[in-house]
C-alpha cells in the first residue's frame, strides 16, 4: 500500500506506543497535522507556545519515565522550542522532537520560515537527524526513540522537509529493535572495579552516599534504598535526585550543595569515602572545587563516561547502568563485615542539631517555607510537585519531603524560568490520578502563563502555588549579599491581578494574604479535584534561602539563617554564577 510520508510518520509514532504529542502547527507540518487528524490512537495537545510544548513533553517524561514527544513547524516553531529542548538536555530527559522543514529543494535558499534546525539544536540535543529520503522515515524514528531512551537519555530532534511528508512510499515496517554500530550504551560491569569499591566501602569509617538524578532516571530507587539500608549509610541527594531515597528516612541527611543542609555538606566535607550514584559533581553541588571532599576516596557510578572525572578526580569508576551496577555492588558487599561507623553517626547527629532548615516566623507575614510545609501537610506528601526557578524552587526542594522518585519535577541544569506550569500539565497527563502542584513565583509564572489556556482545553487540573514576593527573589538575594543591596531590576512593578487572570482563563483564583487563610485555601483548592486553581500567596518580601554556601566557599563554610547577617565573597566568588 502506498502512503505519504506524513502517514508513515504518524504510523511509526503509534507503533512506538506514543500516547501524547505536544505541538503547534504551521506550514511545514500541515501534512503531518492532516495525518494526525485521521487517527485516534494518539492525543495531540495544542499548546499556546512551542516552548510550552517542550516543557510539557518534558514534564510528561519525568513523571512517567516514557519519552516525551514534540511536534513543531519550521523557523519560529523550532526556535521557540529550543529553550525547552536545552532544558531537557541538561537534565538528561528522554524526548523526541519532530520539526517541519522547508521543502528539500529550498533548503539553503533562505526560504520562508527556514532555519537550520539541525545546526541550531546541535549543542543541546543528544543527537539529531535531517530526513533526506522518504524511505528513511520509519527507521529514523526508531533510531531517534532508541537513542533518546537508552544510555544517558536526552532529547533527539528529527527535522523533516515538507516534500518528504507529502511524497509517497510503500508502507514501511516499523523496526522492533535497532542496532547502531556507532552508538553502544555502556552496559557491562567491571568486576574488578566493583571489588575495589567494596574494599573501599567496608574499610571506610566515614562513608556517605551522594545520589543524583541518575537514580531517578535509571529507576534505581529500590536498589539505592537496599544498598544504603544494608550498610546503614548516611545518604544525601542532589536537587535532581530527591525522592529516590525517602526524605523522611532516618538515614537521609537531605539535599547537599549550595542550598543543602548543614549536616549533608559537613558530612561530605569530612567523609573518607563518597559513593556517587548517578550524580555529576555539578558546581552547585561541589561549591569551591579546591575545597571539595579533601579526605575522601571517591567512587562514582555513572552510565556516561564523560561524567566521570570531569570536574573532580575519581578514584574508582563504575561505568554502567545504575540499577544493574547497584545490584552487583549489593551482591558483592553481601556478607562482608564493615568498619564500625557509629562514631561517624554521632558526629553527623551533632551536625543535625544545628537544625539548619529552621526559620523564624514573623507576625503578619506569610513565610514561604510555611507555605511549602502546609502544602506538604495538605497533600500528605503524596503530590507531584513541579517548580519554576528561583527561591521558591529551593524552598520546595527543602521543605516538601519527597519520599518517592518522579514526584519532584524541576529544571536543575538549565534553571529555566517558565518550566513549572507546562511541566505540571505534562505530568498531570502522565499520572492523571495523582494531585499535581506547581510551585512558582510571580516572576517565573509570567514566562509561560499562556499555557493556562491549554490546561483548560485538555482538562489538566493543577494547583498553582504562587509564592508572590513581588521580587525576582533569587536575584534580589544575590544583590543583597554580594552587591551591597543595590536591587537593580529585581523588583517587578505593576503585577497582574493573578486571581482575575486565572478566572479569565476559566480557572479558579484564590488570593491568600494572611497565614490563617493559608491552610483553608490549600484544602479548598485540592478539594476542587477537576479544576485548576491559582493560589496567589503574598509571602514575605525579604526572606532569603538558607543555608547557603556563598560562591567560592567550601562545604564546611556554610552560611546559616540568623547566624551571619552580611555575607562576603571574594573576587573569584563573584566570577561564579
Amino acid at each position: 500500500m502506498m502512503l505519504n510520508g506524513a502517514e508513515i510518520l504518524t504510523n511509526s509514532l503509534i507503533e512506538e506506543g506514543v500516547e501524547y504529542i505536544f505541538g503547534f502547527p504551521g506550514g511545514a507540518v500541515l501534512h503531518i497535522y492532516d495525518a494526525l487528524n485521521a487517527q485516534d490512537k494518539m492525543t495531540h495537545v495544542l499548546v499556546r507556545h512551542e516552548q510550552g510544548a517542550a516543557h510539557a513533553a518534558d514534564g510528561y517524561a519525568r513523571a512517567s519515565g516514557k519519552p516525551g514527544v514534540v511536534l513543531v513547524t519550521s523557523g519560529p516553531g523550532i526556535t521557540n522550542a529550543v529553550t525547552g529542548i536545552a532544558t531537557a538536555y541538561m537534565d538528561s530527559i528522554p524526548m523526541v522532537i519532530i520539526s517541519g522543514q522547508v521543502p528539500s529543494p529550498l533548503i539553503g535558499n533562505d526560504a520562508f520560515q527556514e532555519v537550520d534546525a539541525v545546526g541550531i539544536t546541535r549543542s543541546c540535543v543528544k543527537h539529531n537527524f535531517l530526513i533526506k529520503d522518504i524511505s528513511q522515515i520509519a527507521v529514523t524514528l526508531k533510531k531517534a526513540f532508541h537513542i533518546a531512551t537508552t544510555g544517558r537519555p536526552g532529547p533527539v530532534l528529527i527535522d523533516i522537509p515538507k516534500d518528504i511528508t507529502i511524497g509517497l512510499s510503500e508502507n514501511q515496517v516499523y523496526p522492533n529493535t535497532i542496532d547502531l554500530r556507532s552508538y553502544k550504551p555502556h552496559n557491562d560491569i567491571d568486576k574488578e572495579q566493583i571489588n575495589k569499591a567494596v574494599e573501599s566501602i567496608i574499610s571506610s569509617t566515614k562513608p556517605i552516599v551522594y545520589s543524583g538524578g541518575g537514580s531517578v532516571i535509571g529507576n534505581a530507587a529500590s536498589e539505592l534504598r537496599k544498598l544504603t539500608r544494608d550498610l546503614g549509610l548516611p545518604i544525601t541527594q542532589t536537587l535532581m535526585g530527591l525522592g529516590a531515597y525517602p526524605a523522611n528516612d532516618e538515614l537521609s541527611l537531605g539535599m547537599l550543595g549550595m542550598h543543602g543542609t548543614y549536616e549533608a555538606n559537613m558530612a561530605m566535607h569530612h567523609s573518607d569515602c563518597v559513593i556517587a550514584v548517578g550524580a555529576r559533581f555539578d558546581d552547585r553541588v561541589t561549591a569551591n572545587i579546591e575545597k571539595f571532599c579533601p579526605n575522601a576516596e571517591i567512587i562514582q557510578l555513572d552510565i556516561d563516561p564523560t561524567s566521570i572525572g570531569k570536574n573532580v578526580a575519581v578514584d574508582i569508576a563504575l561505568v554502567g547502568d545504575v540499577k544493574a551496577t547497584l545490584k552487583e555492588l549489593i551482591r558483592a558487599l553481601n556478607g562482608r563485615s564493615k568498619s564500625d561507623i557509629s562514631k561517624w553517626w554521632s558526629q553527623i547527629n551533632d551536625w543535625r542539631k544545628k537544625k539548619s532548615l529552621d526559620y523564624k516566623k514573623e507576625e503578619g507575614v506569610i513565610k514561604p517555607q510555611t507555605v511549602i510545609e502546609t502544602l506538604y501537610d495538605v497533600t500528605k506528601g503524596e503530590a507531584i510537585v513541579t517548580s519554576d526557578v528561583g527561591q521558591h524552587q529551593m524552598w520546595a526542594a527543602q521543605y516538601y519531603l519527597f519520599d518517592e522518585p518522579r514526584r519532584w519535577i524541576n529544571s536543575g541544569g538549565l534553571g529555566t524560568m517558565g518550566f513549572g506550569l507546562p511541566a505540571a500539565m505534562g505530568a498531570k497527563l502522565a499520572v492523571p490520578d495523582r494531585d499535581v502542584a506547581c510551585v512558582t513565583g510571580e516572576g517565573s509564572i509570567q514566562m509561560m502563563l499562556q499555557e493556562l489556556s491549554t490546561m483548560l482545553q485538555y482538562s489538566t487540573p493543577v494547583k498553582i502555588v504562587n509564592l508572590n514576593n513581588r521580587y525576582l527573589g533569587m536575584v534580589r538575594q544575590w544583590q543583597e549579599f554580594f552587591y551591597e543591596k543595590r536591587y537593580s531590576m529585581s523588583y517587578m512593578d505593576a503585577l497582574p491581578d493573578f486571581v482575575k487572570l486565572a478566572e479569565s482563563f476559566g480557572h479558579v483564583g484564590i488570593l491568600v494574604e494572611k497565614e490563617s487563610d493559608l491552610r483553608p485555601a490549600l484544602v479548598e483548592a485540592f478539594k476542587l479535584k477537576d479544576r485548576t486553581v491559582f493560589l496567589d500567596i503574598i509571602t514575605d518580601q525579604k526572606e532569603n534561602v538558607y543555608p547557603m554556601i556563598p560562591s567560592g566557599a567550601g562545604h564546611h563554610e556554610m552560611l546559616l539563617a540568623g547566624e551571619d547577617d552580611m555575607v562576603s565573597t571574594n573576587d573569584e566568588g563573584l566570577n561564579l554564577v
Binding site: 539541525v118 546541535r122 549543542s123 535531517l130 556507532s182 556516561d304 563516561p305 564523560t306 572525572g309
Partner: protein
C-alpha cells in the same frame, strides 16, 4: 602535550560539524584537523591534533566517543603509531638562493612539483616537526604561501582503530 586523535566517523551529513562543534563548545583546542574518505565508503577518518593535559585529552576522547556519529575515537599518541603530514610551499627564487634551496629540498626528500621563472612549489611529506624544521630553515621573506594538510596517522603493526 600534543596528542593525535584519530576518529572513525559515519559518513553522514553534519557529522563533521558535530565534531568541530564539540571542540568549540567545550573549549578544546584544535591544532589541525584532517578528514577524508576511507576504504569503507560509509566511514570517514578524521584526525585531530590537539594540545592539552592528560585530563583534557581524556575528556576529548570520551566526548568524541559519546557522539552518535563517531564509531571509534583513539588517542594515537598513547600507542605506537605512524604520523604523516603533507605540505606544499611556494617560494620565490633567484639566482643567488636557488642552489641552497635545492640542497635543502634534497636533504628533506622534498620534490619540486611546479616551477616558474621566479617560484618553486615544493611538496614535502613527513612528521609535522620535520615540516616545521624545513620552514624554519628558510629565509622567511622568500615564502609566498604554505598549505599543510594537517596530520594523519595510523597505529603501528597489526592494531587498528
Amino acid at each position: 602535550m600534543r596528542h593525535i586523535v584519530s576518529i572513525m566517523l559515519e559518513n553522514e551529513s553534519g557529522a563533521l560539524s558535530r565534531v568541530a562543534g564539540l571542540f568549540s563548545a567545550r573549549g578544546f583546542n584544535i591544532e589541525s584537523l584532517n578528514v577524508a574518505p576511507t576504504n569503507d565508503e560509509t566511514l570517514s577518518r578524521m584526525t585531530i591534533v590537539s594540545i592539552g593535559d592528560d585530563n583534557i585529552i581524556e575528556q576529548i576522547v570520551k566526548q568524541l566517543n559519546k557522539l552518535v556519529d563517531v564509531v571509534t575515537a583513539t588517542d594515537l599518541t598513547s600507542y605506537e603509531h605512524i604520523e604523516r603530514e603533507l605540505m606544499l610551499v611556494k617560494l620565490s627564487i633567484n639566482q643567488d638562493n636557488q642552489a641552497d634551496i635545492i640542497k635543502q629540498i634534497d636533504y628533506f626528500s622534498g620534490k619540486i612539483v611546479d616551477a616558474s621563472e621566479d617560484t618553486y612549489t615544493i611538496e614535502l611529506a613527513g612528521q609535522s616537526k620535520s615540516l616545521d624544521a624545513f620552514i624554519e630553515l628558510l629565509d622567511e621573506s622568500l615564502i609566498i604561501e604554505v598549505s599543510r594538510t594537517g596530520v594523519t596517522g595510523v597505529l603501528k603493526g597489526t592494531n587498528n582503530n
